[in-house]
């Protein structure tokens, strides 16, 4: 069995002081009250000693007893029992079945001679029911069979208050309030002497063994049970604690929280009331009496008196921790909570939790350790400091003294076992990660985050990057050295960036991309750098690395200019001229940038539009050097060119026409002519050069967009004219002409068209056109009539309201005042509002200009 040193046994009264060499004389009873120690002997003497406690240099307590006096009681009987009543300055002495009162100091009997006769044994009520402080309650087992008596004992008199009879002969008694706990012949009972109600506890054979009944606290007793059990029972007759297991021949028991102490022939045993375990065994031969007096435990043989000195609880707990008995230490600490001042307890308990945490930690019991660290509010740095090199060099931390554990560092703790070491590191990672955002971290966030960074870097852990891109307190110098050592250059860049050293970060990353240093964290680091520069507010840095990113890839690199965040574009943007001149060497990038300016940002500047169109054109020409566009597919670039030429109105048309001349880009030149309003020329190109009639029709439609019907009609007429102008025998243009008329009947002035058409064309041929034109004409006529009718009726309504207003007459008199200035009208001129209000003309005019005043309505 694991033991603990809870008590040490020291001698208090040596044999010589008591009886010298007289062998027949034995100790019968003891009493201790404060510093007063009384001993009763079998030869009817009472001895009075003064106990002095002192602490030896070794830290152990020692007692010296100085004899004050001794007195013979005048009988030839032994002194059976002694009890002090300090409030009365009386010692109760049981001798020869009689309880007498003597003065505590001089041991003289009191003059009145008050005594309790016929007592076999007695007990004091430590939870008295009378409120009188100058009175003690004494309960005796009477010499009368099956009788218990209760007395009030005063300074110089005694008074019986109750006599109760018991079902069997009682042998031992303890009392608490109105409750007597009695050992009867065959069982223990609880008896309420006030109500007479009794409660059986459990059977017990008094003939075989001496019963023990001991009050251990408020309403609770300790009893010797069968099989050497120490049973606990409350006044309600129930057991709230599991029994402790003594030896069969226990003769005495005492309590010194949280321990129960028992005495038998050979040993003193100590059990904890908290977990019922036996904690200590002290060899003690010929033990005779074991009793506790207000927390002081005294044990005697028949010849000498000894004191069991409890070791300080803190010492006991430390001993338990030292032998790694965490559970017991915590149980003990919690159990003694109420015996220690709250403030002191909290400090002590926290420390115990922390120590216990380190014990569990050393045994790699991480979940338990974590819980203990948490509840013990451990300074995390205590834990970090176990790991070599994790705390920043600048940290001011020193381990608490006395130390919380015995380990210098992790190497010692794991004895170099790499696997254990790795486990410990994983634990610290998860632990730091958990606490870093809690209040535990307050005050040393730098230490925690730096340690975490080091652990992550060393373990090649993904969370390293997460740590660095979110809010963190990693110390720059310490972390940088560590990251470099572990070749975490990308992460180092992030660290620099977090510390506003973007230049250093970029230099590192560029070196990685260039292959000068090796770090495979990101395979897309180039794109990352581009992205970084795109959002980088430091334009100098962008300029510095612009060439580098463009050389790597024009299309991707140009993003540093084209994808910049919108808010920056509005305020503090790059000067496009600078960018364009920079991009001169990178044609693809330049095209992308101009597109960005023209299309995305819609900059209305001629140069960009012309420049872009020109670049498109050059590209198109380069792609098709044959200059023969017929039937060729329209390339993407060509589509872009056409779209730009169509949509933009800013480029220099003449310049481009010159460029495009003779290149065979008919569609493009048609668009350009269109821009110059040279629609006939444009349409001619489409009809004659390209022979693309659909494109010609299309041209009429998009060129006239937003220009109104007459403009469009003009274009369609122009196209028709081109078709008809050709050789009449040449049927090639007849079909498109007819199709044009039939498809777009409403776009033409039918009367004009009819005059243009050759007489030879049949009505049937133009049937759709004619029908359409007719329907359109009729529709227009009817719509006009409707509009006319509506306009007339609207006019009528206005006339009606005008008539109505003019109809009533207005009389002006001196009593009529202007609503605005409240003056009478002097001239027969006024303004009348629709609501009937009259005002001066000049007032109305003022009001009209002054919008703030409440408007009464329109003038009529």
């Amino acid at each position: 069995m694991m033991t603990i040193k809870a008590f040490s046994l020291v001698s208090a009264v040596e044999r010589e002081l008591l009886m010298g060499d007289r062998d027949r004389i034995n100790i019968e009873c003891v009493e201790c009250c404060g510093k007063n120690l009384y001993v009763g002997t079998n030869d009817c003497f009472i001895y009075h000693f003064l106990l002095e406690e002192k602490t030896l240099p070794t830290g152990t307590a020692a007692f010296t007893a100085t004899k004050q006096l001794h007195r013979h009681l005048g009988f030839k009987k032994p002194v059976n029992e002694l009890r002090a009543a300090s409030a009365l300055n009386r010692l109760l002495v049981l001798c020869d079945n009689s309880i007498t009162l003597v003065n505590m100091m001089n041991l003289e009997p009191i003059p009145t001679g008050a005594r309790i006769k016929g007592a076999v044994t007695f007990a004091l009520n430590e939870n008295p029911v009378s409120g009188d402080p100058f009175c003690v309650e004494v309960c005796i087992i009477s010499v009368k069979r099956r009788t218990i008596q209760v007395f009030m004992v005063y300074e110089d008199r005694v008074q019986i208050v109750k006599e109760v009879s018991t079902p069997e002969q009682p042998f031992a008694v303890a009392v608490d309030g109105h409750f007597l706990c009695l050992a009867l012949t065959t069982q223990y009972i609880i008896l309420n002497y006030n109500t007479g109600v009794s409660q059986d506890l459990f059977p017990y054979c008094s003939e075989e063994k001496r019963p023990i009944v001991k009050r251990i606290g408020r309403q609770e007793f300790l009893l010797a049970g069968p099989g050497g059990l120490g049973m606990f029972a409350t006044v309600a007759g129930i057991s709230q604690r599991a029994p402790v297991h003594w030896s069969e021949n226990v003769i005495g028991a005492a309590v010194c929280f949280p321990y129960v102490i028992a005495l038998d022939d050979e040993f003193i045993t100590v059990h904890s009331m908290l977990d019922q375990q036996q904690k200590q065994t002290l060899p003690f031969k010929e033990g005779h009496i074991l009793q506790d007096f207000e927390g002081r435990v005294i044990v005697t043989t028949s010849k000498g008196v000894y004191i069991l000195v409890p070791l300080p609880l803190e010492k006991q707990i430390q001993d338990l921790l030292a032998s790694r008995r965490v559970e017991e230490a915590l149980v003990l600490a919690k159990g003694v909570r109420r015996n220690i001042p709250k403030e002191k307890f909290q400090v002590m308990y926290r420390r115990i939790l922390q120590q216990a945490g380190f014990i569990q930690f050393a045994q790699l019991q991480f979940p338990e350790a974590k819980e203990l660290f948490r509840s013990g509010q451990l300074d995390v740095r205590e834990l970090i400091s176990l790991y070599p090199f994790l705390l920043p060099t600048s940290s001011s931390f020193t381990r608490s003294h006395p130390p919380l554990h015995e380990y210098a560092d992790l190497n010692q703790l794991t004895q170099g076992d790499q696997e254990k070491m790795a486990k410990c590191k994983r634990f610290l990672m998860s632990y730091l990660n958990e606490v870093r955002s809690t209040e535990v971290a307050n005050g040393y966030k730098e230490d925690i985050d730096t340690a975490l960074l080091k652990l992550y870097a060393e373990a090649d852990h993904n969370s390293l990057l997460d740590l660095l891109v979110t809010e963190n307190f990693c110390l720059l110098t310490d972390s940088a050295v560590w990251l470099e050592k572990h070749k975490k250059y990308f992460a180092l860049g992030l660290l620099y960036h977090y510390n506003n050293q973007d230049a250093a970060a970029l230099q590192l990353w560029v070196n990685i991309v260039n292959g000068d240093i090796c770090d495979s964290t990101r395979s897309d680091l180039y794109e990352y750098v581009v992205d970084f520069l795109t959002y980088c507010l430091d334009h100098e840095l962008v300029w510095k690395y612009a060439d580098w990113v463009l050389q790597k890839s024009e299309e991707v690199g140009v993003q540093v200019f084209t994808k910049r965040p919108l808010d920056e574009q509005q305020k503090n943007s790059f000067n496009p001229e600078d960018v364009i001149s920079c991009l001169k060497k990178y044609p693809k990038a330049l095209v992308r940038y101009l597109e960005h300016l023209v299309i995305d940002r819609r900059l209305q500047k001629e140069e960009y539009h012309t420049h872009l169109a020109l670049l498109y054109l050059e590209e198109v020409l380069q792609q098709r050097p044959s200059a023969n566009g017929k039937g060729a597919e329209v390339t993407e670039m060509q589509a872009k060119l056409r779209s730009l030429l169509q949509k933009s109105d800013l480029y220099r048309v003449h310049f481009l026409i010159d460029k495009i001349q003779g290149t065979g880009l008919h569609m493009e030149s048609a668009i350009l002519h269109g821009k110059l309003e040279e629609h006939e020329k444009a349409l001619c190109i489409l009809v004659h050069e390209l022979k693309d009639f659909a494109a010609a029709e299309d041209y009429c439609l998009w060129s006239s967009e937003g220009r109104g019907d007459p403009y469009r009609q003009r274009l369609f007429h122009t196209l028709l004219a081109i078709y008809l102008r050709g050789d009449p025998s040449d049927c090639e243009l007849v079909v498109p002409a007819v199709d044009l008329l039939n498809h777009h009947a409403t776009e033409f002035d039918a009367a004009e068209v009819l005059q243009l058409l050759p007489d030879t064309w049949s009505v049937q041929l133009l049937c759709p056109f004619l029908t359409g034109a007719m329907r359109h004409s009729i529709h227009t006529k009817r719509m006009t009539q409707v509009a006319l009718g509506l306009a007339k009726s609207e006019n009528l309504i206005y006339k009606y309201s005008k008539m109505k207003l003019k109809g009533s007459s207005v009389q002006l008199s001196d009593k009529k005042l202007c609503q605005v200035c409240q003056n009478p009208f002097c001239k027969p001129v006024f303004v009348k509002y629709p609501n009937g209000g009259l005002v001066h003309t000049h007032c109305a005019a003022n009001r009209h200009t002054n919008q703030n005043s409440p408007s009464p309505g329109n003038r009529t």
Binding site: V129, G177, H178, Q187, N194, T195, D200, L201, F202, P203, Y204, Q219, G225, P226, G227, L229, M231, A233, A236, G237, I238, S239, R241, A242, P243, H245, Q276, G335
Partner: protein, 235 residues
């Protein structure tokens, strides 16, 4: 120490497996136990309630303590060994008398343990096989024997208990719900047993709380009683 809200007591002859049952439930494992001395005590947190569970000693020597342990109990688990008829008989002869001190509304559960050692039995067959193959090398594999005590016998005992306690069958849980067969070794039915009981004692706790704390009348008691004495004198 937390104050328990309700008490549950395990009773039964020695060697039927009371400690093992409790150990299986609290510690989640089965291990050899020594004969219990006196009694042991566990505190179980169930939802927001503290339930104390007392393991008693089955030995005759400690029989006298049973009454005290049962005092104020909210539930009593009477345990027997399904392979040992006498252990069921003992429950009626020896242990039922101890329950007189329990609460009037005390619940009774009758539990036949060591089902793993019985030949018949449906649900735990597979586990048994695994167990026996694992222990095949061991020297003391208990031989399978036909189950001696049927569940109906336990049901019959339950009804006798109701008669003894003068309870109406309508007012208490049905016998079928309160008779269990378990194996502390395999864990079969053990959680079910305890948790069924816990759920049943919770309403008792609530009822007790509603009626007011029963054992905290101390101070007012002391004040009242002398007065009563006086009035007695005057009359």
């Amino acid at each position: 120490m937390r104050k328990p809200d309700v008490k549950i007591v395990l009773l039964g002859d020695m060697n039927v497996g009371k400690t093992s049952l409790l150990h299986r439930y609290m510690e989640r494992r089965f291990q050899d136990t020594v004969s219990t001395v006196g009694g042991a005590f566990y505190l179980k947190q169930w939802r927001s309630y503290n339930i104390s569970i007392w393991d008693t000693a089955g030995r005759e020597q400690f029989h006298g303590l049973g009454s005290m342990y049962c005092r104020g109990a909210g539930a009593i688990i009477l345990t027997y060994d399904v392979n040992h008829l006498q252990s069921l008989v003992e429950l009626e002869d020896r242990f039922l008398g101890l329950t007189d001190t329990a609460n009037t509304d005390c619940l009774f559960a009758i539990v036949g343990n060591k089902l793993d050692l019985a030949e018949e039995g449906a649900a735990e067959d597979q586990e048994n096989e695994q167990d026996s193959s694992r222990e095949a090398g061991g020297s003391c594999v208990p031989a399978k024997v036909p189950k001696q005590v049927k569940l109906e016998d336990a049901v019959a005992l339950y009804k006798k208990i109701l008669k003894y306690r003068m309870l109406d069958e309508k007012d208490v849980p049905a016998a079928e719900k309160m008779c269990f067969e378990t194996s502390a070794k395999t864990g079969y039915n053990v959680d079910y047993l305890f948790e069924t009981l816990f759920d049943m004692v919770v309403p008792m706790i609530l009822r007790q709380r509603a009626e007011g704390p029963p054992q905290t009348v101390v101070i007012s008691d002391y004040e009242k009683q002398p007065k009563q004495m006086k009035s007695g004198c005057c009359a």
